[in-house]
Amino acid sequence: DARVTQTPRHKVTEMGQEVTMRCQPILGHNTVFWYRQTMMQGLELLAYFRNRAPLDDSGMPKDRFSAEMPDATLATLKIQPSEPRDSAVYFCASGLGTGFLVEQFFGPGTRLTVL
C-alpha cells in the first residue's frame, strides 16, 4: 500500500533553531506539494514541485523558508531561523499528472511546535 511518508511526525524546538522536515513521495509520482495547517489560517499551499523543479513557492515566506527536492524520492522543507508563529502541522502531498488535474495523496504531517 503506497503512501507518502513524513519525518519527523512531531518536532519541538526553540525559537531561532533550524528545522528540517522531510517527505518521501509515492514512488512514481511527479508532483510534490507542501502545505501548512493552522487553526487560524486553515490549509495554505506553501510550494509545489513538478519533476523536482519548483513551480510555485509564492505561498512561502522566502526569508526563512526553503523547499528542495534533492532527488525524486525526497522533498525537504527547511525553516531557518524558526519562530513561534511557524508552529503548525506541515503536510506533504504527492501526485501524478499534469496541470491542475492532480489527485493529491497526503502524508500524515509533521506537527511543529516552536517555543
Binding site: G42, L43, E44, L45, Y48, F100, L101, V102, P108, G109
Partner: protein, 114 residues
C-alpha cells in the same frame, strides 16, 4: 481570482440521516474541484473529484457531489451518515489562473450523533 467558500463551519447530523456539506467556488477558468476528508490527527484523503466529465461525481464511502456551473456550487452529500463519517471536510478548487493554483476551503467539521 479563484476562491472557495464552505458555507458551514460545523454541521451536526444524526446517524442514518442525510449529510449535506455546502461549497461554492469562483474561478476564471473551468476548474477542477475536489473534496477531501481529514480525520483527527490524520492527513487528508481524497473523497472525490470533478474534472469536467460527468457533473454528478461519486466518491468513496457513499459520498457524492454535483457540479452546478450555474450556481457555482459543488455540494457534498451522503444519503445516510455513519459515525465514522465524523471528520473535517475540505472543498478544493484548482485551475490555471496565474499558473497552477489550488485553494482549500476553510473546512466543515461534521459531527454525527448516535
Amino acid at each position: 481570482a479563484q476562491s472557495v467558500t464552505q458555507l458551514d463551519s460545523h454541521v451536526s447530523v444524526s446517524e442514518g440521516t442525510p449529510v449535506l456539506l455546502r461549497c461554492n467556488y469562483s474561478s476564471s477558468y473551468s476548474p477542477s474541484l475536489f473534496w477531501y476528508v481529514q480525520h483527527p490527527n490524520k492527513g487528508l484523503q481524497l473523497l472525490l473529484k470533478y474534472t469536467s466529465a460527468a457533473t454528478l461525481v461519486k466518491g468513496i464511502n457513499g459520498f457524492e457531489a454535483e457540479f452546478k456551473k450555474s450556481e457555482t456550487s459543488f455540494h457534498l452529500t451522503k444519503p445516510s451518515a455513519h459515525m465514522s463519517d465524523a471528520a473535517e471536510y475540505f472543498c478544493v478548487v484548482s485551475d490555471h489562473t496565474g499558473g497552477f493554483k489550488t485553494i482549500f476551503g476553510a473546512g466543515t467539521r461534521l459531527f454525527v450523533k448516535a
